[in-house]
């Protein structure tokens, strides 16, 4: 019997069990198979279950009557259906569900990776020790835990493939190839030569990860087409018995906006990530996606493309599997009955305390660390425990506890490191990936389709958070502080004579003692400006502010700089203006720097009018919120899309459009049009208006001191 030690690279179902790939210590890629039975359960009316039993007798499945636990209903008499063909489970379940739709089904759609890791106690990308005969796995032993702070890095072979232009705009002529320090280009003039070249590269380099731009939407579909045309077989999978798995493009509504996801191409035995089609990849990159895969049990390829919600659901499923709780296929719990008064009491979000408008000096910002998850863990808030006294630890706190602890530990390490340390970027990406899992966990408690969600538990979390914020406010006021603003989990406080970090330590300790939730000092602002509504200067707007910390770092929220639809040019100048204002040490000095800002703005406008601003800095990005036919009066993005549609492009809701404001009939010029905008056709007045608006935001706080109306 042979043995090996390495990292678990990939796990997927096949007809005879499971295939797994190991990246071994001696740099080999080991493919192993193992027998693997999978079971799902059906519960409900006994006469129906009997009929289902008779129906299944004809199928390739073993049946058993047993008792299993439902999280909400407790022990249930169920029919266990076991098959040794995991790849055929979905088909078998689908057929049964169509025949018997009124039965309750459990464990039928658990990803195979989760079943594997809960059975073997290993984790994706984790270290393990395997023993095997030929290609058959005999035993697997975990050598690491997903909660390790400093996992041994995987020596991944990464091949990067990028076309020389966006294939949606024009036909690429070359494909840039990058592998380690080597970089070269493959010509796309002759598909035949290109296919031969790429095939040779794939065989020679045998990458673990193919990182592409437009791989999902262009390269892989194109490879399939060229393969058919030239007769050259090219299978980008490491597992040569498998074709590339593709999923169709779709538009969906989530987090208040329509999002477009292009078609996707998944590989077996190696990973493919398209940087242009990976939802959160821009936020935390490969390291973050790997961290999420490690803790959630969902493969890196999927985790890079899916929302963190899929990751947290997987973690809840794993907790359920490990604790003998069945995972319902469909949510069965609905909101409990409430009187109107009860609904009014319960149906609230976090506490938002309107800020005091204007400039304030020596202000401390203090934040509760991961407030909502910490509340869920500390107060045992879970759908099955809400409203119960002394309930055992619920499924949600059990899932979150290690995640919360790991993130706090990573953050502590980060705060001790020198910002220039080479580990900082990686640790930040990992901490951010974990943060997103924690953030969505709260939302999922109240999400109507979440299997382990119940709105009452969601409401319990916000109710607790409001109470804790009020406690924090009272503690601060008792100690003589003025609370300038509170926003869900952070407070801005001020007291005459308090400006050093240590001045705020007694307050932080007192709040932590009172609430039992960790709280940290984000920093002390030299000055901070809370903004007023653009419609009525007497109305404050929450979470719109900018300020400068004592170390000179700027912090801004809710202003143009943070908005995705602001042009680079406006953003650059607004940031430059803030950097000028950051020289002010007190609110009183703020006005002294306004003339410098005005000069900066005038220079910028002059540059714009004389055509010295690169056009790509003036691109506006906006999303389509509906189909083009659905617009009564088309938005600028829709008008740009119409220009491209005339040239044969198709658009779906959620797709992002880039355009310039132009002095033509439609008022816009789509950036992707082949012809560039003629000089002099740029709508400079429109851009100046955008800049003025952004400047008003940063200069409004000193309005009481200056006659700004004259300036703009």
């Amino acid at each position: 019997m042979a043995e090996a030690i390495g990292w678990l690279l990939d796990v997927y179902a096949d007809e005879a069990g499971i295939t797994l790939w190991l990246l071994t210590n001696d740099d080999k890629r080991l493919c192993l198979h193992m027998d693997f039975d999978v079971t799902f359960y059906a519960a409900g009316d006994f006469s129906l279950l009997r009929q289902a039993w008779i129906y299944l007798k004809e199928k390739d499945a073993r049946l058993e009557r047993t008792i299993r636990r439902d999280l909400f209903l407790g022990e249930r008499d169920v029919m266990a259906v076991t098959t040794s063909n995991p790849a055929g489970l979905q088909k078998l379940f689908g057929e049964l569900q169509r025949q018997f739709p009124s039965l309750n089904y459990y464990d039928a759609d658990i990803p195979i990776t989760l079943r594997f890791i809960s059975q073997t106690n290993t984790h994706l990308l984790g270290r393990c020790h395997v023993r095997f005969d030929e290609k058959w796995l005999q035993s697997i032993e975990p050598l690491s835990s997903p909660w390790e702070i400093d996992p041994t890095p995987m020596p991944l072979r990464i091949l990067t493939l990028t076309p020389d232009c966006n294939p949606a705009i024009r036909k690429p002529k070359q494909l840039h190839v990058k592998y380690g320090p080597r970089e070269y280009s493959l010509s796309l003039d002759s598909p035949r030569l290109f296919m031969i070249g790429l095939k040779a590269d794939l065989q020679r380099l045998d990458p673990d990860l193919i990182l592409t731009d437009y791989g999902d939407t262009w390269l892989f579909p194109q490879l399939r087409q060229w393969s058919e045309e030239t007769g050259i077989e090219l299978n980008p999978n490491r597992d040569e018995h498998r074709p590339v798995m593709t999923r169709k493009a779709d538009s969906y509504f989530a987090y208040g906006q329509v999002t477009y996801r292009g078609a996707q191409s998944y590989l077996f035995g190696r990973w493919h990530i398209d940087r242009r089609n990976a939802m959160s990849f821009g936020e935390y990159g490969l390291e973050g996606a790997m961290e999420q895969a490690r803790v959630t049990g969902i493969g890196v390829q999927e985790m890079a493309r899916k929302s963190p919600g899929a990751g947290i659901t997987a973690m809840q499923m794993s907790t359920a599997l490990c604790n003998g709780v069945m995972v319902p296929v469909q949510k069965q719990q609905v909101e409990g009955t409430k009187t109107l008064a009860e609904l009014i009491r319960a149906d609230h979000g976090g506490l938002i305390y309107q800020p005091l408008i204007g400039l304030h000096g020596d202000v401390a910002q203090i934040d509760f660390s991961s407030m909502y998850p910490a509340i869920m863990v500390k107060h045992n808030i879970s759908p099955e425990t809400v409203g119960l006294e002394n309930a055992p630890e619920g499924l949600i706190p059990k899932t979150l506890r290690p995640l919360l602890e790991k993130r706090l530990m990573l953050k502590n390490i980060l705060s001790d490191l020198n910002p220039r340390d080479c580990r900082v970027e990686i640790l930040k990406a990992r901490a951010s990936a974990l943060k997103w899992l924690l953030v969505v966990c709260f939302g999922y408690l109240g999400y109507k389709n979440a299997r382990f969600g119940k709105i009452e538990s969601h409401e319990a979390v916000t109710a607790m958070s409001r109470e804790l914020m009020l406690q924090a406010k009272e503690v601060a006021e008792d100690m003589g502080f003025t609370v300038l603003h509170m926003y869900v989990d952070c407070l801005f406080v001020q007291q005459v004579g308090f400006h050093r970090h240590s001045d705020f330590t007694p307050l932080i300790n007192a709040i932590e003692e009172k609430t039992g939730i960790p709280i940290v000092l984000e920093g002390v602002f030299k000055w901070v400006a809370f903004l007023a509504s653009k419609r009525d200067a007497r109305v404050p707007v929450p979470n719109q502010y900018f300020g400068v910390f004592q170390d000179g770092t700027l912090k801004y929220r809710g202003i143009e700089l943070r908005r995705r639809d602001t042009t680079t040019w406006v953003r650059k100048i607004q940031l430059a203006a803030l950097e000028v204002l950051a020289c002010a040490n007190t609110p009183q000095e703020f006005a002294n720097h306004v003339p410098d800002v005005m000069a900066l703005v005038e220079r910028a406008k002059q540059e714009l009018r004389t055509g010295r601003v690169p056009l790509d800095e003036l691109i506006v990005r906006q999303r389509l919120s509906r189909t083009l036919a659905g617009y009564k009066s088309p938005s600028p993005a829709a008008r740009a899309a119409l220009q491209l549609q005339e040239r044969g492009r198709q658009f779906a809701p959620g797709q992002s459009l880039e355009f310039l404001f132009a002095r033509n009939a439609s008022g816009v010029h789509a950036w992707e049009l082949e012809e560039t905008l003629a000089p002099g056709m740029l709508d400079t007045k429109r851009y100046c208006r955008l800049l003025d608006r952004a400047m008003r935001t940063v200069l409004d706080p000193c309005k009481p001191l200056l006659a700004l109306e004259k300036l703009f």
Partner: protein, 87 residues
Amino acid sequence: MGRTLITITQQLNETESMLSPFRRTLRRSDQYVFDGLFAAARRHIAAIGQEESLLPFESALLAMLLEQSKEIAVLQQKIEELIKKNG
């Protein structure tokens, strides 16, 4: 997200638009003062929300009164300072 009831901010907006015929009939100078009353209420959205009342506008009226009392107190203080200064 995930709310069943409309927020206090939305309720105040609705009340304000319900009162728009009232506002329209006021003199321009009075309209500005009227808007000020709603601006005063909006500074206390959090407190109105915490009230758990079926009629949040009652709490909004209290918030308007509160801001007015604050303003009166500030003005009183200024008058006292002026009286002291001018003997």
